[in-house]
């Protein structure tokens, strides 16, 4: 079955370009488009896309708010891939905090775009580029939880799992790498989310970046 993609961008030319790139792939299809964040939740309910490509800056409802609404109001929501013009865009960080699973520059090469869509649609991987670390570092002092991640009391194994999540590995890949069962990884992930008070993997990773638990050398 084809993977369905919803394009959300206020610029028609970005949409038409991405549509052509995505539709040129045999296994991907653009099943809907929106030019503002306000339209996202109803469209997702109606079209059930696998991945939403979401622009950050839009005139009425921006990508951050649209992501937040989507993930709180829709059951079993699609993965959100945030699109942006600039790497060092503080809004991107906010969008990831809102629960987006990945982040891609509009200048990404066409094969990077389609690979990212397939990666996110395939499972629970995250797609964070290097720049997110700088963004996280910039945001960390005021917003990091007191005491850093030490206070969360992660076990060594949970810390390993968190590092692998941050590297973008899916549960299956983590299981393979740590030579444990898929179920064990899922248990670890659930405990990590509880201990970090994170809603999803993205939030857990952001918290790891913010607290300096994961630094440039790790991921």
């Amino acid at each position: 079955m084809n993977l369905g993609v919803l394009l959300v961008d206020d610029e028609p030319l970005i949409r038409s370009g991405l549509r052509a790139i995505i539709n040129a792939e045999p296994d991907l299809a653009v099943i809907g488009e929106a030019e503002d964040g306000a339209a996202v939740t109803p469209l997702v309910r109606r079209l059930r896309p696998d991945v939403v490509l979401m622009d950050v800056r839009m005139p009425v409802v921006d990508g951050i708010e649209a992501t937040r609404r989507l993930l709180t109001n829709v059951d079993d929501p699609p993965r959100v891939l945030v699109l942006t013009t600039f790497e060092n865009d503080d809004y991107v960080f906010d969008a990831l905090r809102a629960g987006a699973s990945g982040f891609l520059l509009k200048r990404a090469r066409p094969d990077e775009v389609v690979r990212a869509i397939r990666l996110l649609a395939a499972g629970d991987s995250l797609l964070f580029p290097t720049a997110i670390r700088e963004l996280a570092a910039r945001h960390s002092p005021a917003e990091a939880p007191a005491g850093g991640l030490d206070a969360a009391g992660l076990t060594d194994r949970e810390a390993d799992v968190l590092r692998l999540i941050a590297q973008g590995l899916s549960n299956a890949e983590i299981a393979a790498q740590l030579v444990v069962s898929h179920e064990t990884v899922k248990t670890h992930v659930a405990r990590i989310l509880t201990k970090l008070d994170a809603r999803d993997r993205t939030q857990a990773v952001i918290r790891a970046y913010e607290t300096g638990f994961i630094t440039a050398g790790d991921a």
Binding site: D10, E11, P12, I14, S16, G17, A20, R57, T85
Partner: protein
């Protein structure tokens, strides 16, 4: 303490001689006052006696008049220019010429002018009398009887016993150079205090710098946004065209047109902002305010956009800062309208109330004028301007029209 080498370098330094020139200029300014005193005193002498007449003439012509001269703004400008050029005082340490100086500043200028005259007068006089005195002193060992030193009212005894006078006399011009250099240093140290900007001028300069910097940052961000946006479109469209070239040549052709348009728009924005940055030279015309609104509307009409403008209230009641920003907001809104709605008519209404300025700009959201690249981005500048004045802005579609509504408080709220 200056080191020996630095002391030895003083007579060879161009700074020394430039400062010397500055001192001599000061000396050259003295004679007019002296001459005037010479004219005035005899005419007063009949009434109040010779001594009193000269005393009065010296006080008036030698003290009061130079002080009055020093208070003239033009003299202050000249002194600042000369101090920069000849004393080598840093530009930032001196005030800005071409302003109406305040009274405390005028008094400081007057003090400077008098100091220039006095110190310059002393050095200048020494410069004039020393060479003949040196020449006479050099002949002293060969003369019998007392020798007058040039035109000075001083003598040295003649004869071989006065041989020591020759080296002393020959070294004295050098000593004068050192004295002049010391006087130059003194004036250079004094200049920032007497010719420097007043606290108010400093504050104004800092505010001007801050405004210019903020404006430049805003322009840089605008440029970053608009060019980044255009290049993103170019990248995405080109990537797509390459992918579908064989399967969908029609799309590929459209993509090439889009690439061309976006690149052109990006270049135009680049040109526009770089033009603004170039215009940002210090000598630029005063920042436009709402009083220049009519000209802006006229020039927009000339560009082919039908603008209906409606004004209620008195523009004169709007504080300068608000007026300046409001003008810019109108300017940016008109630019945005032209960019996104093409030549669609724009209606502008400006309402100046007792506490608030309301600005509304609408243009039709016509489907035939598809929004060009850059949607919503020109609004960033408006948002920032409004935020800096604690106003409100709303922008968006409203009953088939694009509407930008701005409210700015006319008086700062605590």
């Amino acid at each position: 303490m200056p080191r020996a080498r630095e002391l030895l370098a003083i007579p060879a330094s161009s700074t020394t001689w430039q400062r010397y020139a500055y001192l001599v200029i000061g000396a050259a300014l003295v004679p007019p006052y002296g001459t005037l005193a010479g004219f005035v005193a005899p005419s007063l002498a009949g009434g109040i006696g010779e001594a009193a007449a000269w005393g009065l003439a010296v006080v008036v012509c030698g003290v009061a008049l130079p002080i009055a001269t020093g208070m003239l703004p033009a003299v202050r400008d000249l002194e600042i220019g000369a101090a920069r050029r000849l004393l080598g005082v840093e530009v930032g340490e001196l005030g800005t010429p071409h302003g109406q100086p305040s009274w405390p500043t005028r008094w400081r200028s007057a003090a400077w002018f008098v100091a220039h005259l006095v110190v310059g007068g002393v050095i200048g006089s020494l410069t004039v009398v020393l060479p003949p005195a040196v020449v006479s002193a050099c002949f002293a060992p060969f003369e019998s009887g007392d020798v007058q030193l040039g035109r000075l009212d001083a003598t040295v005894p003649g004869g071989p016993g006065s041989a020591w006078i020759v080296p002393v006399a020959l070294l004295s011009p050098l000593a004068l150079v050192y004295v002049a250099a010391a006087a130059g240093v003194l004036l250079a140290r004094l200049a920032p205090h007497l010719l420097g900007p007043s606290p108010a001028e400093r504050l104004a300069a800092v505010q001007r710098d801050a405004m210019r910097l903020a404006e430049r940052n805003r322009l840089a961000r605008e440029l970053h946004d608009s060019v980044g946006h255009a290049l993103s479109i170019v990248t995405v469209q080109a990537g797509a065209a390459a992918r579908v070239l064989d399967d969908d040549p029609i799309f590929a052709r459209e993509a090439l047109t889009n690439i061309e348009t976006s690149a052109r728009n990006g270049l135009r924005d680049l040109d526009h902002v770089l033009g603004l940055l170039r215009d940002d030279a210090p000598a630029r015309a005063p920042t436009p305010t709402l009083t220049d609104l009519q000209r802006l509307v006229d020039s927009t009409r000339t560009a082919g956009i039908d603008v209906t403008a409606e004004l209620t209230g008195r523009i004169d009641d709007v504080p300068q800062a608000v007026s300046r920003e409001a003008y810019r907001i109108v300017q940016e809104s008109l630019t945005n309208a032209a960019r996104h709605a093409g030549r669609a008519p724009v209606s502008l209404s400006l309402n100046i109330g007792a506490d608030e300025l309301k600005l509304e700009l609408t243009n039709p959201l016509d489907a035939s004028h598809a929004r060009g690249p850059g949607g919503g981005r020109g609004l960033n500048g408006i948002h920032e301007r409004v935020a800096s004045l604690r106003g409100h802005v709303s922008a968006g579609p409203d009953a088939g029209r694009w509407r930008v509504a701005v409210r700015l408080p006319l008086h700062p709220t605590p």
